[in-house]
Symmetry: C2
Subunit: 325 residues, 2 copies
Amino acid sequence: MGEFPLIARVVARSGTASLADVGPGDDAAVLRTPDGRVVACTDVLVEGRHFRRDWSSAEDVGHKAAAANLADVAAMGAVPTALLVGLACPADTSAAWLEGVAVGMAAECAPFGAAVVGGDTSASAPDSSAVVLSVTALGDLGGRAPVLRSGARAGDVVAVAGRLGWSACGLAVLRRGFSAPAAAVGAHRRPLPPYAAGPAAADAGATAMCDTSDGLLADAGHLAADSGVVLDLDRAVLRETYVVGPLPQVAAALGGDPLGWVLTGGEDHALVATFPPHVALPEGWTRIGVVHEPTEDGPGVRVDGVPAAQVAAELGEETGHVHFG
Amino acid sequence: MGEFPLIARVVARSGTASLADVGPGDDAAVLRTPDGRVVACTDVLVEGRHFRRDWSSAEDVGHKAAAANLADVAAMGAVPTALLVGLACPADTSAAWLEGVAVGMAAECAPFGAAVVGGDTSASAPDSSAVVLSVTALGDLGGRAPVLRSGARAGDVVAVAGRLGWSACGLAVLRRGFSAPAAAVGAHRRPLPPYAAGPAAADAGATAMCDTSDGLLADAGHLAADSGVVLDLDRAVLRETYVVGPLPQVAAALGGDPLGWVLTGGEDHALVATFPPHVALPEGWTRIGVVHEPTEDGPGVRVDGVPAAQVAAELGEETGHVHFG
């Protein structure tokens, strides 16, 4: 199938962006930007590193690729408006598989009135039979100030919205050759970022925010470094609040402490943010720690006062999400 | 080198976008959109299909990847404001090569006050040692109506801005193992799209416009199809105006009619547009034909009345740019 009929079939599955004046099919899309600013980010997903076609359906891949980007938009305090998709895939990739990806992306975008408004396709590199997806998300701040990683101040509280460790738990299950429990495997295939919590945090006065695509300790570390502070997290609260759902059962079956997944597992796209001390946290947010001035060791993340790297090592994990490829 | 220090080094080479409130380094960039709309497009470049590292320097690749996208922005009648870059590359890709790509992109963007404002990197697929670049460009219409592919009307004139066939001529040179003439090879490595001609055409009342990334006949064909018209091009004008620079000399040396490159060569990113019959064409635009009502064969492109596919076949070319991979 040639490029143009294929694109037409995929576009037909992509839905319509409510803010698009010009959608797919021209040299570029034109999108209204009510705020007067546009939020924009890009995330790359590589087959064999971020997904496997035997572990995830085409629709799963579409959901996951969209979610990774839409969560970044939410982490600025914005609402997604559109996606653009760069795709390199083997020449023999079936139209059905590509349509599945489009359907997954469209479903992930639809609640916001967002949709794929443009993109480009190419054959994979001559040496490769892998799919590479590069997705760009655009968003609108609706008058909010963007919430950066650099605004956390000593005395702030640290809070999280969304699930932690579920995707890593699901990946552990798949790696052992199992496909249940469905809650864990499903979380790996289709993360459920807490999109609404991003703008809600901005409205509530969050001082800093980012998404946890690389895992809580790693991404909180970026926030700590950019803000020049220490985030001290409460291990008991983390265990009580986040070692839930399939995590205890799977950890018991496979061995190991499920707190490792909570602290270092990536791709759930939870949001971590800091708020001034007396702010009432918005719905969906849980207080997990406090912000301190940096110690003589500099900024960073601690858990009950213990440096993040040491905590992760004791749990047999590395900080910083390592993909499976 | 880990991902974060590498990104920092590349970002340091990327320049600053004049409209960026938030640049690289957070979950997303935030860019002002003075027009109240944003133009957005994505183009994928795959090593071994769109470039070869032995034929193009890192800076060449950066220029080319940026130009392919910036030309699409211009083809809407807009001015580029920012790029986002999704990159999959082998883990052993040198920082110097990636910095070179960043330098090339920055140089191509700088005249507009645009720059790379965000992106993401990943290791290539496990089976591949190729670089895949997916670049998204954003642009601002400055109050202009976007010029679509669908607005050409019978009686309009067809015009082109920019060079045609130079990149294909350069590729023919490289394929034979030569590296001169420099004008041809340089045009393949770093196209020179006529960026300013896009907004100028919009201001002058262009009825339809697109860029010629796939070659004149192919892209004029998209315009004809979307507008439901016939574009009839003037062979004598095309030969006289565009068989220039290195084309006659290289064609004489390699054999073949250089008009083939002019009509079917891609990646020069010239602009093709239609204008109402009595409009004075803006600077840089050359009249190459006229628009007719569709014949019984439907919409399409003709050269002196002969269908495009027949003309291309007689010249030994295919319509529709075929990459070299």
